[in-house]
Amino acid sequence: METFLQAIAAGILIGGLYGLVSVGLSLIFGVLRIVNFAHGEFVMLGMYGAYVLHSALGLDPLVSLLVLGPVFFVFGALVQHLLLRRVLAAPDLAQIFLTVGLSIVLANAALLVFGADYRSVSVPYGDAYLSVGAIILPWTRIIAFAGAAILAGLLTLFLSRTDLGRTMRAAAQDREVAMLLGIDPDRVFLVAFGLGAALAAAAGVLLVTFFPVSPTAGTQFGLIAFVVVILGGLGSLGGALAAGLVVGVVESLGRFYLQGDWALTLVFSVLLLVLNLRSGRLLVR
């Protein structure tokens, strides 16, 4: 029973981060109708950003977040403006493989700059943990989860309370009607992709205190984000956050009760199962 509760708690904590990564992917899909195959690489770059600021200036990742969030927003907006804008009306092949190409470029640029070694950021509270009964929760993971929750809350406020946010939701709901109502799609797309990239990178920054970074670290988070958004419904932000927790818990239970990598096999089996169950809805694009 204690193992079970421990696994659930650990799963919820990491699931919050999965949710934050996925909410960006879902936002991009909802507004641009593009699946970003480079999303995991944004997480990886966020991790390296926090690593560089920590090793060069001694900045705590939580402080770096204030710098790196805007930096990655601009980076995402640039990617949208220079690359994705040109394929928004193109066939699937161009849309899919443009972001696949981007993911290859980003992962291997990181390999050239940082090498293949794993890097980690150790913070003063790195070994501290909170014990609740028999359950042990490392503070690094609690802080990362709290950070993810706050950012998700801010995103919700932005989307529900600001004009730009409401505009984006309108564009996500029905792009054609939104454009008829005079919404400038280019601006909305720019903000959506910038926000999506910034959220993914922010998740990376929060992760780096307990998850070592390497150029291939993004692949795993990208794949898990696919599972999460398909489980939560592509384009649904609340769905992505909730499904993030579910996938985190499923993976965590798998890690506690199964040997080796069977936990990840379980996660991908969930992906295929959900894809099949939802295929009726996914047919309509």
Binding site: N108, G260, L264
Partner: protein
């Protein structure tokens, strides 16, 4: 009196040239480069039949490749079965899995299909890692070298591998031509352009896609067996990895999807990039640089030349044919 035009004699000359290369040189580096070009042309060509003509964009073709590699290798290492039979067994396994994949994923469109194929390949990779009693797990499998043997597909030099790989590539090209000219090819292209319209014409799109999937899985798996026999070592992260799946698709896309010679051209371009990055920047990180250039090429092709480099190559070829002499015969 008919004239022998460049368009008639150039392909023959080219074929003569590639067949003659190992007869005039045993240079291992050159032959290795050409063998890798033939191998990736086979893989890109196999992907192209499903992805290029049928528009089903798989990002999990490593599934079939790995099944071919592991199928023949485990049969050889555990039971001493010849890789000739092993290749067929691996191909049969890949085709069986392609049916399962087809039944479960062909209802999905575009990016959903791509994501599903990634999921299948990742499950295969993880299962092979997590069943070390059967597969030797993440350590991979080393093939024992017993000496020159056609029966066991093992050779000291590169000449035999060269002709095997060339034959494999030409077989894939021939299969592509056959598919492209058949009714299946027309249905596939119709599906690639608009699945709803193709379905409305009364042909079952799922079955059309599955026929292409069978052919694609077959050649990809055979190439997997060839890879195992050529390198004498396989491990799950390489042969089932997402990186391989992406590279297979890249060969076809950079060369030109939905064309017979696009994947061959793509394999030639990508292998040239690989060699150049190694020659000019032979640092320990050249692997990163090579893939970085692949990524840049992919982005550039999609933005500038979405139909692939083959269009450019055709114009150059056409211009060359215009300038070359015509020989009269008869």
């Amino acid at each position: 009196m008919r004239a022998l035009t460049p368009r008639a004699y150039l392909p023959g000359l080219a074929l003569l040239l590639v067949v003659a290369i190992p007869l005039v040189t045993a240079d291992a580096v050159l032959l290795n480069i050409l063998i890798l070009i033939f191998l990736f042309a086979t893989l890109g060509g196999a992907w192209n039949i499903l992805g290029g003509y049928g528009g089903q964009l798989s990002l999990g073709h490593a599934t079939y490749f790995g099944l071919g590699a592991y199928g023949s290798t485990l049969l050889l290492v555990d039971f001493g079965i010849s890789p000739w039979l092993g290749a067929l067994a691996g191909a049969a396994a890949a085709m069986a899995l392609s049916l399962v994949l087809g039944l479960s994923c062909f209802r999905l469109r575009g990016p959903y299909f791509a994501i599903a194929t990634i999921g299948v390949a990742e499950i295969m990779r993880l299962v092979v890692i997590d069943l070390p009693d059967v597969t030797q797990g993440a350590r991979g499998v080393t093939l024992p070298f017993v000496g020159q043997s056609w029966a066991l597909l093992q050779f000291r030099g590169k000449t035999e591998y060269y002709y095997l790989a060339l034959g494999l590539m030409l077989a894939t090209v021939a299969a592509t031509v056959l598919v492209a000219r058949s009714a299946l090819g027309y249905r596939l292209r119709a599906i690639g352009q608009s699945e709803d319209a193709a379905g409305a014409l009364g042909h079952d799109p799922a079955w059309t896609k599955q026929m292409a999937n069978f052919v694609s899985a077959f050649f990809t798996a055979i190439a997997g067996t060839f890879y195992a026999q050529y390198f004498y070592y396989i491990e799950p992260n390489t042969v089932f990895g997402i990186s391989l799946s992406i590279q297979i698709a890249l060969v076809a896309i950079i060369g030109g999807v939905g064309t017979v010679w696009g994947p061959v051209l793509g394999a030639f371009i990508l292998q040239s990039v690989a060699q150049l990055t190694q020659v000019f920047l032979g640092s320990s990180r050249f692997g990163g640089l090579q893939l970085l250039v692949y990524g840049v090429l992919l982005v550039a092709v999609i933005l500038v030349q979405p139909r692939g480099v083959i269009g450019l190559a055709r114009r150059v070829y056409g211009a060359a044919c215009g300038r070359l002499p015509r020989w009269s015969r008869g």
